[in-house]
């Protein structure tokens, strides 16, 4: 090796950072301190959340950067500390994480870690039960402006009304809260109630009062009420209250706006009017301060407002997750019936000693099996076991060894489609290279004639398809190949007759041909370019010699041009093969790998290549996500790409050359 040891200037002290200038060093130290402070903050949070792998990656990067800048010996690494940091974080970490994930069960249903899952199961609304001796409550939800909830509860056993909020413990309802303080019912009376502090206005007096105004303002949900005396039949001599159809009123009760028989009361110390309205069994009490009680049920309590049916429907998912009352004796909404509440308790509690969940009523044990807590049927009677869920969800992710690969080999309905995808991946890449290379070479040979005018312009024009981003060309081709409307089938149908043109989207074979057509168009200019370059590098005297030896044009091509060309462009062809091996864009944008392969246990299509197939497993719309299985397939692709690369560099030995040269 002729390597020269040259790692900076030796005269600087151990902590000299750059050119030795004090300000420069200080600036650098300051920058390093900032980076460290940030890294430390990030690390603490990651460790706090037990995100071990990422924490490790960040730690490695931080230590690396510090070492590079603080150690004289590691001076060269200072230059690629940004690059190495990126490499560790964005390349090494994802690669190692892919390998790790391939051996786990990281997928829908197992997306959390064990700690999270234990907490999730213990607090899951569906996994709660009402212990013996506890009563159910009928529950009506209220909400205030801060989005906090209050429940109006009526005990099913004690028939007592209670109020409970998210912050305060449960309490029996006071008359003030119920909006009925000072109200006294009079059996068969007229008026049917007496109200303390208010004076009943008989119809004549009411008429006099109402003569001055025809609407009264009340709170939610009654809103503005118009009051008028009814003309006509004398059998109803009282005033009528007409609810003008405030929407809220209708929403809550489902009743149409209608007329009520109204009783007006006037406050003893003012002009405020209290309204009591009756229609059959329905009653409505509207107080001048805005509180409204309908059929004994207040519509506002403190700042809380009863939710309309529609509002209630919108939050059925949220309500069961809320905790009401005291923390250690909470009340929950029944997740299976939003109008019910009770002192529910977790059905499954984790027992650290056994590393298992214990069912609280029967004592059944759930032990972890590959990331899922599974019922140990021996721990409980047969009848009880049949009543209990066999497993608890969610599960957590855990290393499951070779399960994913085993599944690939043993599951018939997985293996069949996978083999097809695999073969098409290779065929697709190979045929793409073959087709583009053939056409590109032909064009390069055609253009390789000095007599052709304006060769550069020809070349530039033919280059255009290659210059257009593939995501655009593929979409354009998707339109061209549209089976009913596209230009190609439009033209073809004129030749072969309507209905006989290929089904580019629906027929597996034609879909494959369609993709190859697109690939040919996308790729041939590139091949033309590299062939042109290679052709120009073949010495002319070799042709002259061949001509002298009497070789004809084809022989010259077959035995001279082609071999020399292949040596020159061979590595590029293999690189192109490797690229198309993973050409996600074209296939995903053309038809997402469709049409689907029937009877496959995971989503797979006839034109899927490994990477679109993988993508579908991880991010596909149907059937959830399976990161673990996708990662397992990624490892398969890794191996294949590695094999192609090794082959390629055996072929060229360019690695040794590039590493040795200086």
């Amino acid at each position: 090796m002729n390597a020269v040891k040259k790692t900076g200037r030796g005269s600087d002290g151990p902590l000299a950072l750059f050119s030795g200038s004090v300000t420069g060093s200080l600036l650098l130290l300051g920058g390093l301190a900032l980076i460290d402070a940030f890294a430390l903050w990030f690390l603490i949070r990651l460790i706090d959340d037990r995100v071990w792998f990422l924490a490790l990656a960040v730690l490695v990067v931080t230590i690396g950067v510090n070492a590079a800048f603080l150690s004289r010996k590691l001076y060269p690494f200072r230059w690629f500390s940004p690059g190495l940091s990126l490499m560790v974080l964005m390349v090494a970490y994802p690669t190692l994480f892919t390998i790790y994930t391939a051996f786990t069960n990281y997928s829908t249903g197992n997306l959390l870690n064990k700690t999270q899952v234990i907490e999730r199961i213990e607090t899951k609304p569906e996994y709660r039960y009402l212990p013996d001796g506890e009563q159910y409550y009928d529950a009506i939800p209220f909400r205030n402006e801060d989005g906090k909830y209050l429940l109006w509860l009526v005990g099913r056993s004690d028939r007592q009304a209670y109020i409970v909020t998210e912050d305060d413990e449960i309490e029996p309802v006071t008359p003030e809260q119920a909006g009925i303080e000072g109200v006294e019912w009079v059996e068969d009376g007229d008026p049917p109630i007496r109200v303390e502090g208010y004076e009943y206005l008989p119809p004549e007096d009411a008429a006099a009062v109402l003569a001055e105004r025809d609407t009264l303002d009340y709170g939610y949900p009654v809103g503005e009420v118009s009051i008028r005396l009814i003309d006509g039949p004398a059998e109803v001599p009282a005033g009528y209250a007409l609810d003008p159809g405030t929407l809220l009123f209708v929403d809550n009760t489902g009743r149409r706006p209608k007329e009520y028989q109204a009783y007006l009361f006037r406050a003893a110390d003012g002009d405020d009017l209290l309204l009591y309205a009756v229609d059959g069994r329905d009653t409505l009490l509207a107080r001048p301060d805005g509180r409204v009680v309908i059929n004994g049920q207040p519509y506002t309590i403190g700042g809380y407002r009863m939710l309309s049916n529609r509002e209630r429907t919108a939050i059925t998912q949220v309500l069961p997750t809320l905790t009401f009352g005291e923390r250690d004796d909470p009340i929950y909404i029944d997740p299976f019936s939003a109008s019910r509440a009770g002192r529910f308790r977790p059905r499954f509690l984790y027992d650290e000693r056994q590393d298992a969940f214990v069912e609280q009523e029967t004592g059944a044990i759930y032990r972890p099996v590959k990331g899922t807590f599974t019922l140990d049927r021996a721990s409980v009677s047969v009848e009880a076991a049949d009543e209990l869920p066999a497993t608890l969800s969610p599960g957590y992710y855990v290393v499951v060894g070779l399960d994913n690969f085993e599944r690939l080999l043993t599951d018939q309905r997985l293996r069949g489609p996978f083999v097809r995808v695999f073969l098409w991946t290779i065929a697709h890449a190979f045929l793409t290279v073959l087709l583009t290379f053939s056409l590109g070479l032909a064009l390069a040979l055609l253009l390789n004639d000095r007599l052709i005018p304006a060769r550069k312009i020809w070349r530039s024009l033919i280059l255009i398809p290659y210059a257009i981003p593939a995501f655009i060309s593929t979409l354009v081709w998707r339109g061209l190949l549209n089976p009913r409307l596209g230009l190609i089938n439009d033209t073809l149908e004129r030749i072969v007759g309507a209905g006989n043109a290929p089904g580019w989207y629906s027929d597996p074979m034609w879909a494959k041909i369609g993709i190859l057509l697109i690939q040919l168009w996308l790729g041939f200019p590139y091949m033309m370019l590299i062939c042109t370059g290679a052709l120009q590098s073949i010495p002319q005297d070799m042709y002259e010699a061949a001509q002298v030896d009497g070789a004809n044009a084809f022989q010259r091509f077959r035995h001279l041009t082609l071999p020399l060309l292949l040596v020159a462009v061979g590595p590029l062809l293999i690189a192109s093969f490797a690229y198309n091996f993973n050409n996600f864009t074209v296939i995903e944008l053309f038809n997402e790998g469709g049409p689907p392969i029937a009877n496959s246990s995971v989503p797979a299509g006839h034109t899927d290549i490994l990477i679109t197939y993988t993508y579908e497993q991880a991010f596909g719309s149907g059937g959830g996500t399976n990161y673990a299985f996708a990662s397992a397939i990624t490892l398969v692709i890794f191996l294949l790409v590695a094999a192609i690369t090794i082959f390629n560099y055996r072929f060229t030995r360019s690695w040794e050359e590039t590493s040795r040269n200086v």
Binding site: P76, F77, F80, T101, I464, P465, G479, Y579, E588
Partner: protein, 303 residues
């Protein structure tokens, strides 16, 4: 044996020469006809889409190579579209690609300088790693990358999902291997005598890099930069995975939404978008053709 074609024409050419010449011309004509066919094949989708973009019917039905009438209405619709913010997507693509280009070139140049100018323990191992990562495209590890960016986003949202910061970070990682590898080759071709004499004069590495080597490799930086820009602009899989919010998406993801939802009904507007979207890259290609070809044959494949 009799001598063949001894007759000579007025210019003094023999019959054989005339025959050769005629054959040559016929051959040339055949070549040009074939080239015209190739050109037609290369250009017809482009002509078709250009025609669609000015066709007033804005539909895929019965669309030919020649538009029936010409209008800029489709372009207007495209540029004033609130559900499909085309201009926003185009801007996002250009922004992300430009930032990636600049940062990637910087990072790779630093690394390449180190590889080219220093001999140190671990150099071969690091070099081999760089070589290996440029072999495996980072779209392969898209699942892990997605999970990583999602995790980072839990702590630093501006580098998480739906952020351009996270996307650029992934692109930088992806471009690192190939760019460092290309750049190292170029640095190697700059004679070491230059910086050695500067070093004797007392210049620091920092100064040597910026004042001597950087100006020398600038043309190469441009090529690597443009290749990075194009590769980033053309990426589909990573942007698709990381960007779910319409306002944040790049053109590659956005344009597909356009087609997916309103395929045949809005074809004219899509066509206008396709042409405008292709324009920046096609112009770059045609202007920088010769440089880019050099870069491509040095090992980069279209991506």
């Amino acid at each position: 044996m009799s001598s063949v074609a001894t007759t000579t024409d007025r210019q003094g050419r023999t019959a054989i020469q005339r025959e050769r010449r005629r054959q040559r011309q016929r051959q040339l004509a055949v070549r040009i006809v074939l080239l015209l066919l190739a050109l037609a094949y290369a250009l017809f989708p482009i002509i078709w889409i250009a025609s669609a973009s000015v066709d007033p019917r804005n539909s895929l039905v019965n669309l030919g190579l020649i538009p029936r009438g010409a209008t800029l209405k489709n372009y207007e619709t495209l540029l004033n579209n609130s559900i499909h913010p085309f201009t926003r997507w185009l801007w996002n693509s250009i922004k992300v690609s430009t930032i990636t280009m600049v940062l990637s070139v910087l990072v790779s140049t630093f690394a390449a300088y180190s590889f080219s100018r220093f001999r140190f323990r671990g150099r071969d191992a690091t070099l081999l790693t760089v070589f290996l990562i440029q072999v495996f495209p980072n779209s392969l590890t898209i699942v892990a990358t997605f999970l990583l960016i999602q995790e980072i986003g839990n702590y630093i949202p501006s580098f998480g999902l739906n952020s351009h910061g996270g996307l650029i970070l992934v692109y930088l990682g992806g471009a690192l291997g190939i760019n460092t590898w290309l750049m190292k080759g170029f640095f190697d071709s700059v004679p070491r005598d230059l910086d050695e004499s500067a070093m004797i004069d007392g210049a620091s590495h920092w100064r040597i890099f910026w004042q001597i080597l950087f100006p020398l490799v600038r043309p190469i930086l441009a090529v690597v930069g443009i290749l990075t820009f194009i590769a980033t602009y053309n990426d589909y899989i990573i942007a698709l995975t990381l960007l779910k919010n319409t306002q944040q998406q790049t053109l590659a993801v956005g344009l597909n939404l356009f087609v997916g939802e309103q395929f045949s009904q809005q074809w004219g507007v899509f066509a206008a978008g396709a042409l405008l979207g292709a324009l920046p890259v096609v112009v770059l290609y045609l202007l920088m053709q010769d440089y880019i070809v050099g870069g491509l044959t040095a090992g980069a494949v279209k991506g």
